[in-house]
Symmetry: C2
Subunit: 663 residues, 2 copies
């Protein structure tokens, strides 16, 4: 009898979720009702009976995470956030997809309380969830009694679209390999995508694919069967080794007269069809109306449960603080991102140093990684080249969860999205690395980091045609422009060891968006007048002719700063043409300076300025009339020969400047 | 006895390939010998006994294709091309990885005869091979007796790296679904990647993953076992339904004292170790020396076989020309890319037309796709939105190989790389479509198309914040800059229906590189003075004040051209400030014009020019001092409200221009 009542309440609550989905999409006349309608029971069961989170403290570090990888199901998430008491009002639901509402088209992290990750671009949510699960496992191992500090599940909900995206396989394979047993993925197999039935494009056996990728697989035959759903989630939580995928068979647009058809996917149901659906759900309330009983169900079954768990955590934390004061202090620093306390001192460099900036970066990582216990990072199978290994710590694995060196495999896209997940989780400061040309593979997840205001760090090495033998497929040209044009991404291309350390400091100080360090493969000389501190200003003078006002300026970045210096000296010596050299390690930092500072640096007229960067000139026209760069693909050959072939020697640059001046 | 001799010859030939790999990488002191050494027997067996291609006619349309997805194995491919007589001399091999040699670090299509695809960025080769196999299957079905014209295998060689990349799963799932039975993938499972043993990062069951993805899977226990390799390839060729993966177990760096270790992966073997390896191979010849017997083996077993097959094809083609003259003429047009013959006429548009440029593009595709029998394309599950369906033709599938509408699934990256493979194959003119923001997912394959000089076409719709409700994850900002900065990519952002038709014509006329069409979701008005023909010049005047010389210019693209016109009219009427409006649908086409034309268009001083584009301003500084754009992420809301919120109304633009002028 009691069970019977409980099931009745489940059905009413599921009806409420579905009705709110219909009401939101209907009122907005926009959105994607199909999948929310079919996956509502599974999501309800998860939230009502398992997900532990405190709506009054949605940022609680030890909450269970919920990643809606199928971001177009936003109406479903908003319904739950409303019902569970995350502060999303009925009026907010009524403003679904309206300008500046708390209920935008796709869930936005940082905008709506209770949204654990931004979603929309498919597949990335799975990788972000993997990152959260990695963070939980890693953090547990980084403290004396880590399981008292970090001990939660990471849940993710996805559809067919996410699993068609390649990033899903990268993330799945990584998660299985890493034995992320507290990661639970609910796969809503509704057999439909936007353009038609899934069978039009995908007939693979998803279950077998997950088994092959070392996952535990459970199956629920009927997506409306609450008891089976609960039992599946229960079983998934017991997995001691493998992550679990719960395959839920469902009918898209359940309740609609078009149920089962992709027509319910991308557009709201017609008004009468929505009414029909509510009839199917036995949900007999007016639009945007939920009976108190349902609120009570969520209050008792979710909010109170979550609040209790959080209070217990806080109580225990107080004890933990007494029992392990150092550990506790470190925990606070970690979750507050107090990275400044753990910065290494900038060493004194030999003035004759010639060092690749990737090596300088590697030295920084070694020093910082040693000092900062919550520093963690890795690369996509090129750690030996990108110098992104924290020495003295093992590779992160199920055997060594304390390892802070992550071996992502040749999976650049997932690596980048996994970092996002780790940062969304909190408690770690991270970096990932690969060859700069492969930032193309990472790009969509870099954009996601920028959207989520995450302090992700990218160590992108092998930054120009100076890569040499590997040839044009490995030589970046347009990648600088692509990142600089992306909002909220700060790009650093340091000129030498000093600037590299400065760039790392600036990147770590940037807590509201991603930073990319663009580093050389080849050695570059230490510059007499370079300055780590000035990197933060984005641009500064590194050479002015003595006793004379310069007549021209060269703005250069990275390895081209020393080249500009050499070219300037040739022009001065041979032709008495006096140039100032500006090192411009970060255009974004420069743009953030005062107009006075900017004018001070760019004090000569536009026509008197040259830019020099061994990459696409696109973008430099703002700063200099004469742009020296490379607007074609590179070539394979010895580095020095390739540079020569494209005219990147001091003599050639001097000559090109001369020719420009004669025009 | 005869068999015994044959096996002896096999071993000697395999030894020669391996020795040439060691000699090339040793002399260059650069390259990746590990995998070439272990996979040499499999590759030899494939080429010597199966691959049918005529070295004297390496572009023969009906040759078997060979895609080296593991592009770092270039030394292996060059060894084979040398031995088979593709015109690669011993001196070429001695110039391995040297500037401007025919043997660059990674194989480059178009540079070295016999190289069927550029490779290096991992995983893409598999997708390119899938594209070739799609092309073969499609072309067979597009002609009366298509199997006489197109009937070959597509082989691909990959390692662990390619299979870790997510694009591999997208491509594999697609190939299995499409039943590409003539696609054969050799997977060299040498259990090693650059940073260490594969087990460090990947313990999934690859075999099961392929089985789940509807592939036929064969296994060769010993990568040196010639008889098993031959038998596996023989069996793979018999597959009537599914594509086949041959999993070859091998030992990386076979022959080296470090065999089995990742140390042999990324650097040449030490001199004495290379000698040791040759001793293991029983290969007792000096460096860069191959006995005549081996050349003879390849001549008889490869070149003559290939030449014979090609001659037979040519003979039959003559008959075909007589039997099916129309079909044959069409075949010639198709393989020669004579797309001009099949262009639809530009319709007369209603002067009051308001139409989204995605719709205009859809109309072009419908007209062109109907007229041009070798037009083929599709989208990543958003065909209804991108308007990229050729009407009247079924979706391409095993049941309907004649279908010219490709349903790629939600697999943007593979879609883009598959198009590259189709174009590498020849005989088709293709396009692919998705939302512009997801060009990020495609980017690495767009770069590949640019490197390969392929006439790929991208239909990227939903090109700005005017997308509206879907919000910032779906609103492109930096994507225009990313594509424009990429060498050899031509970007078109047409302003109205006329310009869209012009852009399509220009894209089809561009046969040496990819073209991207950037199209609106929302309606735009037909402009009185827009002109399809002028699109090809990249920029032209669409509005000049009457009876007055303009004092300022606005350069605008796409939907902002009509906005610029409206703003100009406000400024003229209200303030007597006279502006000329330049439509600039393609910066690349404009850059290709004569200096005179460029000066004619940009006839006012730099300070007097404004740019207007609802995207990152990055890049516009070259053309105009005042850049109006959007350097932050968008937001979710009704399109018109979002535009208003960011100041993209005629009134707001007029005011922003006014303020700039007052400064």
């Amino acid at each position: 009898m009691k069970d019977d009542l409980a099931r009745k309440m489940d059905n009413l609550s599921i009806g409420a979720i579905r009705a709110l989905v219909l009401d939101q999409t209907g009122k907005a006349n926009s959105g994607h009702p199909g999948m929310p309608l079919d996956v509502a029971p599974a999501t309800y069961c998860l939230w009502r009976y398992f997900l532990t989170s405190d709506p009054a403290n949605p940022d609680w570090i030890n909450r269970d995470r919920f990643v809606l990888s199928a971001g177009h199901c936003s109406a479903l998430l908003y319904s739950l956030l409303h019902l569970c008491g995350y502060g999303l009002s009925m009026d907010d639901l009524k403003s679904f997809r309206q300008t500046d509402s708390l209920t935008p088209g796709h869930p936005e992290y940082g905008k709506t309380k209770g949204v654990d990750a931004t979603a929309g671009p498919l597949g990335q949510g799975i990788a972000q969830a993997v990152g959260m699960a990695i963070a939980e496992k890693a953090l547990q191992a980084q403290y004396v009694e880590g399981k008292r500090l970090f001990n939660h599940y990471t849940y993710c909900l996805c559809g067919d679209g996410c699993l068609q995206e390649g990033i899903s396989q990268e993330a799945i394979s990584m998660a299985g390999h890493m034995r992320l047993n507290k990661l639970i993925l609910i796969y809503d197999a509704n057999q439909s995508t936007l353009d038609g039935p899934t069978t039009d494009t995908m007939t693979e056996n998803v279950k077998t694919r997950f088994l092959a990728s070392e996952w535990n697989v459970l199956e629920v035959a009927d997506g409306n069967d609450v008891a089976s759903l609960i039992s599946a989630i229960e079983n998934a939580r017991k997995s001691a080794v493998f992550p679990t995928m719960i395959l839920v068979h469902s009918v898209i647009g359940f309740g609609s007269q078009n149920a089962g058809s992709h027509k319910t996917h991308g557009s709201p149901l017609a008004k009468d069809d929505a009414e029909h659906a509510k009839f199917v759900y036995d949900y007999n309330y007016p639009e945007f109306t939920v009976p108190d009983l349902v609120y009570q169900n969520f209050r008792e079954g979710f909010a109170e449960r979550g609040a209790k768990a959080r209070l217990a955590y806080e109580e225990d934390l107080k004890k933990y603080a007494v029992e392990h004061p150092e550990d506790y202090a470190r925990y606070l620093d970690a979750i507050n991102g107090e990275v400044e306390k753990y910065l290494p001192e900038i060493p004194t460099f030999d003035e004759n140093l010639k060092e690749a900036t990737r090596v300088s970066s590697g030295n920084f990582i070694a020093a910082w990684g040693k000092k900062c216990p919550f520093a963690m990072g890795g690369s996509a199978d090129v750690a030996g080249s990108t110098k992104t290994t924290i020495p003295g710590t093992p590779a992160f694995s199920s055997e060594h969860p304390e390892g802070r060196d992550i071996r992502f495999g040749i999976r650049e896209f997932a690596m980048t999205a996994v970092q996002n997940g780790m940062l969304l989780h909190g408690g770690l400061r991270t970096f990932v690395g690969t060859f700069f040309v492969f930032s193309d593979y990472c790009k969509a997840a870099i954009r996601m980091a920028a959207l989520e205001d995450l302090p992700a760090i990218y160590v992108f090495t092998h930054d120009s045609i100076a890569v040499g033998e590997d040839g044009p497929t490995h030589e970046p040209i347009e990648q600088l422009a692509a990142l600089r044009a992306t909002p909220n991404v700060t790009v650093f291309r340091p000129a030498d060891a000093k600037e590299t350390w400065g760039a790392w400091e600036a990147a770590l100080a940037n807590k509201k968006g991603p930073s990319a360090l663009i580093l050389t493969r080849q050695n570059v000389p230490l510059l007499a007048s370079s300055d780590p501190e000035s990197v933060k200003k984005g641009a500064y003078s590194v050479y002015r002719p003595r006793h004379h006002r310069p007549k021209y300026q060269i703005l250069a970045t990275g390895s081209e700063v020393s080249l500009a210096l050499d070219a300037a000296k040739i022009l001065e010596k041979k032709y008495k043409i006096r140039l100032e050299v500006i090192s411009m390690p970060s255009l974004e930092c420069f743009e953030a300076q005062t107009p006075e500072y900017k004018e001070k640096i760019l004090h000569l007229p536009y026509e008197k300025r040259f830019s020099l960067e061994m990459a696409a000139t696109y973008g430099w026209g703002k700063y200099a009339k004469h742009n020296i760069g490379l607007d074609v693909f590179g070539k394979s050959g010895k580095s020095s020969e390739v540079l020569k072939a494209f005219g990147f020697t001091a003599e050639d640059i001097a000559e090109r400047i001369l020719i420009s001046l004669k025009k």
